[in-house]
């Protein structure tokens, strides 16, 4: 679900002909999407974190 949303957003931005914050749309997407994805993964990791010490 999340990956579909991200992909749709990326396609929408890339297909735009206007610059975003002065950058080419494809450059903006390549800069911003990997950062968002990694932050989300790391946040999920923290929220779902379980202590490794339960292991024997």
């Amino acid at each position: 679900m999340f990956s579909i949303l991200i992909t749709k957003l990326a396609i929408k931005i890339i297909s735009s002909s206007d610059r975003i914050l002065g950058m080419l749309p494809i450059t903006f997407v390549c800069l911003i999407i990997p950062i968002i994805v990694q932050i989300l993964i790391l946040t999920l990791w923290a929220l779902k974190w379980k202590s490794p010490e339960k292991e024997g």
Binding site: R19, L21, G22, M23, L24, I26, T27, V29, C30, L31, P34, I35, Q38, I39, L42, T43, W45, A46, W49, K50, S51, P52, E53, K54, E55, G56
Partner: protein, 528 residues
């Protein structure tokens, strides 16, 4: 020479001296020296990770790379070092937590010895290769110091890097890991402050974010009309794009993939000076939020220095500043890209902030250099000599071996740095190539793949090391098939080490079930 800059640098050195004194007092045992006896607190660990990865390369090298490649190398900033330190904590630190406690591990070589039931040979191979890779990494750090001192203060390149060498050797020899971690704490704060304040000022000096980015697209025309160089000089046509065509070195997508998709993130994740940090923190709870924190601290730092490099390129094309030249062996004169940050800082930053740049670069360099020296010294004294050659050696003997190793490696790497390259990044990337090709599979395969065994790990390191060196000797940095593909020279070594691991793991016996169970080996992070 400027009094204020010298004053700021002296204050910085005094602060480092005081911290080191307390680090030395705290260091009583070998475990203290090598891994702070696993007693580092949360913020010390977070900033140690950020500081270890934020080196002279980040401050000077990333700006230099961005001066040359612009946004076409953005992958280094969004994936490279930030990814490496965050996922090192998750994939390696988290999983090693129980083993650390159970087996009293101090270095990653301890893990190899237990996981591969090979207390001597693998430890020796890994220790020697680790020390060699640390050595290559060190050369670039002294280059960074020399560049900034020369550009800002006019202190000769060799003298400035020599002073930094003396200071860092002094505190590492006395305080080991405690001094390293505590000084890195201070150094990371300084780096974060200076970079986060400098970047908006430099962007504003260029006319703001939007104008800067629009000007990036104008660089081919600007450099042709104002500088009188070709519109394609230094990849100008790719500066505003996220990558270039596959056959272009440095900025092409294939090159980006092999350099910033394999070499930097995977190499740094298993780099000896990074991976050994995950054996130093006090509480397993730190693995919860520290990956996110290290990522959100590291991305803005590296992104900021990259934007400063891009701004310097635009300013250079506009004729607003001049970048020094560097004469290479053979008399070839090239633009000294690494001068990008100090040069733009000199014209765009207010005086007081500019004077803080030298301590900031010193901090960046020393926070990595000290960790590299501790790692290299531990590899030789603890892994090679104490555990593989002479187990009866006294703690006093080990201490002396540590000191001699630090001295020899420190001075020799400084001496090699006296012949700088146009981009110090090439040194770092070469060292990371060795790291990924020697250590990635023995560590990651060891943790997550039950078939991985000692033969695969030993030969992976040896073949990875030799193939990588041969690749650089044969092809240099770039492997190019004209008109088709350009990739970074890490590729043959990565293929060779991967194939070695796969083939040997399948044709030789895995380690005993008991060891695999004891070392929690398998495709999971935490056994349910």
């Amino acid at each position: 020479m400027d009094i204020l800059a010298i004053g700021a640098t002296i204050i910085y050195f005094i602060a480092i001296g005081i911290i080191s004194y307390f680090g030395a007092k705290r260091t009583k045992t070998l475990a203290d020296f090598v891994a702070a006896s696993g007693r580092l607190g949360f913020w010390t660990y977070v900033l140690l990770m950020v500081g270890s990865v934020t080196s002279g390369m980040t401050i000077i090298g990333v700006a230099g790379t961005s001066f040359q490649g612009g946004w076409a190398n953005l992958w280094e900033r969004v994936i490279g070092p930030p990814f490496a330190i965050s996922f090192c904590t998750i994939l390696i630190g988290y999983k090693l937590w129980n083993l650390r406690k159970k087996f009293q591990m101090l270095t990653i070589q301890d893990y190899f010895a237990i996981r591969y039931e090979d207390p001597k040979i693998i430890r020796m191979i890994a220790g020697i290769i680790s020390a060699a890779t640390c050595f290559a990494y060190l050369i670039a750090q002294y280059t960074a110091i020399g560049i900034v001192s020369e550009a800002i203060l006019g202190i000769p390149y060799s003298l400035a890097s020599f002073i930094a060498l003396i200071v860092v050797i002094g505190y590492v020899m006395t305080g080991g890991m405690f001094s390293t971690a505590w000084t890195t704490f201070l150094q990371s704060i300084l780096i974060i402050l200076v970079i986060f304040i400098s970047t908006p000022i430099i962007i504003s000096w260029m006319g703001g974010w939007i104008i800067l980015n629009e000007l990036v697209s104008q660089v081919p025309i600007l450099q042709q009309t104002i500088r009188g160089v070709s519109s394609t000089y230094l990849f100008a046509q790719f500066l505003d794009k996220p990558f270039g065509p596959a056959d272009i070195p440095l900025v092409g997508w294939a090159y980006n993939l092999t350099l910033f998709g394999i070499t930097v993130p995977l190499g740094l994740m298993v780099a000896p000076h990074i991976v050994n940090n995950v054996l130093c923190f006090k509480d397993s709870k730190y693995t919860k939020w520290s990956p996110l924190l290290t990522y959100v601290l590291c991305v803005p730092i590296i992104l900021s220095t990259s934007i400063i490099g891009i701004a310097a390129r635009v300013a250079w094309a506009q004729g607003k500043l001049n970048i020094s030249s560097l004469i290479l062996e053979g008399g070839v004169t090239v633009a000294w890209n690494d001068m990008a940050f100090p040069t733009i800082a000199k014209v765009a930053l207010p005086y007081g902030l500019l004077m803080l740049l030298l301590p900031c670069v010193l901090a960046a360099v020393m926070s990595t250099t000290d960790r590299l020296l501790v790692t290299a010294a531990s590899n030789i004294s603890y892994d090679v000599i104490k555990n593989a050659i002479r187990s009866t050696i006294s703690d006093k003997g080990i201490k002396w071996i540590n000191r001699i190793t630090i001295l020899v490696i420190g001075i020799f790497s400084w001496w090699l740095s006296l012949t700088p390259q146009p981009m110090l990044a090439w040194f770092i990337w070469a060292a990371l190539s060795l790291m990924v090709n020697c250590f990635f599979w023995p560590i990651i395969g060891g943790l997550y793949w039950k078939r991985m065994n000692k033969h695969a790990a030993r030969w992976c390191m040896i073949i990875g090391f030799i193939t990588t060196l041969l690749s650089f000797a044969i092809w240099g940095r770039n492997i190019i098939i004209p008109g088709v593909l350009a990739v970074y020279a890490v590729v043959p070594g990565f293929i060779a080490s991967t194939l070695t691991v796969i083939i040997l793991s399948f044709i030789t016996k895995p380690q005993s079930e008991e060891v695999l169970k004891e070392t929690c080996t398998g495709l999971f992070l935490r056994r349910k």
